[in-house]
């Protein structure tokens, strides 16, 4: 099935010994000119790229306190060395968070610190040569920006910040990644990552309405571009037709139907994902975010709710107010934005939904905390709500739920292996190997509790697992959306 060795699932997680260079060949396709220029980046490697890169590094360390502090503060204690799923899955030492940071740090030291300028050998400082740039391109595209290392670092050093900066430096010299940059360009042109134009979107949603009616006999609407609706729903475009995403979307529609609220999708902001974050570009992230503000103003909604998407929820929860606020034109009674999980959880708490748990009796479930939701956002008023709300919604929708081992969930959750702009076929080996720790944790509950399905609330996680689970002997449809469970269990037309 694969032209690389799929790691073996062990009984107990083992920290591998380092094997240098095992993933040096892993590189995503480089973006061509047509994908670079819409984002404001040069189309190919610029002539004086070294100097441009240094200037960009200086600019970024002056613009981001995180970067300035993180580059200086690492003491090489080693606490992070066994925390990255890509290291655990590949044994390549450059996938240890500190070593990945050091690819950037050693150039920073050489150019911008006293020790690196005058004693480069002593502190391991080097110039940004072509070889170093190649290493950057390879290994900064082996970081899913999941922030697991940051949880365990005594100074909170977040490798995601450094890989974002490195990608921005590379973009600025004309070495962008095709997958991310092509997608961002598509959002600018059409409105979503998949390049799904408005008529196709309308068609798709009508088809889903028919499916729900065929299935339940109830007319549940999936409106788009309806002016005057109360709620704008922004969801990852994968929800429109990928499996199991689409089952989640139908779940949201049923929940809104039961709540009796008026809502709409927008064809202008038909994408919750914001790949501007993955490439570390504030400007591009802002430009993508502003589409949501424009849609909200244009449609005259009172609230904004986000669908199931991990990094999108990070951008929405943590950054949207900064990037596209203030949202003083929306109803101040509700947080801006809200997560669909907060909306559904609230209805369940108020007894406003009738859920027949037995509808999901064919499944024994576990839940995968998506990295960006777990470590870069919140749900509800209390810290840690992002762990509680999805689990409560799942438990309200099914009879059989078991958590995976403690050191693989909540804030210690493992990335699916495909986040951070790596969900592309040209990185399949990395994606499969990076999923190892999650697959081991899943295997544990499969054997111990007979778990059959894993629920998630992230479009990337769902696509990634559907693709890589078969490599480890799991069914591709054993990954489900949380609102798919709600969709199965919800009894329509019960509450009037």
């Amino acid at each position: 099935m694969a032209d690389f060795e799929v790691p073996e699932l062990k009984e107990y997680p083992v920290i591998p010994h380092i094997q240098e260079g095992t993933m040096a060949h892993s590189k995503p396709f480089v973006a061509k000119e047509q994908f670079q220029e819409p984002l404001g980046f040069p189309g190919e490697l610029v002539d004086n790229w070294q100097q441009v890169a240094y200037d960009k590094m200086e600019e970024l360390t002056g613009k981001y306190r995180s970067l300035a502090v993180f580059l200086d503060s690492c003491v090489k204690c080693g606490a992070c060395t066994d925390k990255c799923h890509y290291y655990l899955g590949t044994s390549d030492p450059k996938n240890m968070p500190v070593a990945r940071q050091d690819l950037f740090r050693k150039v920073y030291r050489r150019k911008f610190t006293f020790a690196g300028k005058y004693f480069p050998k002593l502190v391991g400082a080097v110039d940004l040569t072509k070889d170093v740039l190649d290493d950057w391109y390879s290994y900064f595209h082996q970081c899913s920006q999941c922030r697991r290392c940051s949880v365990f670092c005594p100074y909170g050093i977040d490798t995601a910040e450094i890989s974002m900066a490195a990608r921005e430096v590379m973009d600025s010299i004309g070495v962008g990644q095709k997958y991310c940059n092509e997608i961002i360009a598509k959002v600018y042109k059409i409105g979503n990552n998949l390049g799904l134009p408005q008529p196709a979107l309308v068609d798709t949603l009508e088809g889903l309405e028919e499916d729900i009616e065929d299935d339940t006999g109830v007319k549940v609407r999936l409106p788009v571009d309806e002016k005057g609706a109360d709620i704008l729903v922004v969801t990852p475009s994968a929800d429109f037709f990928a499996e199991p995403h689409v089952d989640g979307l139908m779940g949201y529609a049923k929940v809104f139907h039961e709540a009796g609220v008026s809502w709409t999708l927008s064809s202008h902001a038909s994408e919750a994902a914001n790949f501007g974050m993955f490439i570390g570009s504030y400007e591009n992230m802002r430009k993508v975010s502003l589409r949501i503000r424009e849609a909200a103003l244009d449609l005259g909604v009172k609230r904004i709710i986000f669908g199931e998407c991990g990094h999108a929820w990070r951008v929405a929860y943590s950054f949207l107010n900064t990037l596209a606020g203030p949202f003083d034109f929306l109803d101040p009674k509700y947080p801006v934005p809200m997560h669909i999980m907060e909306f559904t959880y609230d209805l369940i708490q108020r007894g406003a939904l009738t859920l027949d748990k037995s509808a999901n009796d064919d499944m024994v479930l576990t839940y995968h905390d998506s990295c960006n939701v777990a470590r870069a956002s919140r749900m509800g008023p209390k810290p840690g709500g992002q762990f509680i709300l999805p689990r409560e919604v799942i438990k309200a929708s099914c009879n059989h739920f078991y958590d995976m081992p403690q050191d693989t969930i909540h804030e210690a959750t493992y990335c699916c292996g495909g986040g951070g702009g790596l969900l592309t076929d040209d990185l399949m080996e990395l994606r499969v190997k990076g999923a190892l720790p999650r697959m081991e944790a899943l295997k544990y509950v499969v054997e111990k509790h007979g778990v059959t399905h894993m629920a998630a609330i992230c479009a990337i996680c769902k696509s990634q697992f559907a693709k890589v689970m078969p490599y480890y002997g799991f069914q591709m449809d054993s990954i489900v959306s949380v609102h798919q469970l709600v969709s199965n269990a919800i009894v329509l037309g019960n509450k009037q």
């Binding site: 995180s66 503060s73 080693g78 240890m96 391991g124 940051s150 100074y155």
Partner: protein
Amino acid sequence: MPFLTIVYALLFYVATALLVVGLASKIRQYAKTPAPLKIPTTPAPVTRTGVVMRMFRELVFFESLFKSNKWIWIFGWMFHYGMFLVLARHLRYFTDPVWTWVDLIQPFGMYAAFAMSAGLLGLWARRILVDRVRYISALSDHLMLALLFAIAGTGLMMDYVTHTDIVAVKAFFRGLMVFSWQPLPQDPVLLIHLALVAILMIIFPISKLLHAPGVFFSPTRNQVDNPREKRHLSAWAAELEK
């Protein structure tokens, strides 16, 4: 005035100046650099008070390191708090009369010196024995441990092997503080101890020891988790809105 006294007096003036100016300029840089986005590692406190508590646990108990790796945690904690007590104990050489609490901790300061040394050796052993940590160690990482261990070792030697005229040492440092130079005892162990301390002070602001001020400025730890409630906007980001 003995030549060595002049050298050491000048050395400590220079070292102190470099330490203070270097650290101040780094702290100023960190404080002035904006944090344009809310990036606390969540779950994070939702109030300022909560953040103060988080930072307190981080600084006093090394909370994140405890979650991460118990060996690094125990060695790191022994080293840092051992050194902290040892430094506090050294205040007796700079105060007259000696503050009461400094008097009270004198006996503990001795144990602390052993704890500090043991912690350093533990960290060093990991750096050599664990392949992952060996891979990420540069020469400077080993030298830093060597320097700290040598400082602790020469300090302990003066207690257990070869005493120096501690009253004269105190007079030397008290003298430095008021620019009235007093002769420094010429014991080799003392001279080595002091020279190494001066080196440590000089390299502090240009080395990884910057983690000390850095930890206070780490946005993943010191930010309040309230992006929906309160709009966070840096000056350069606000420019984009114009």
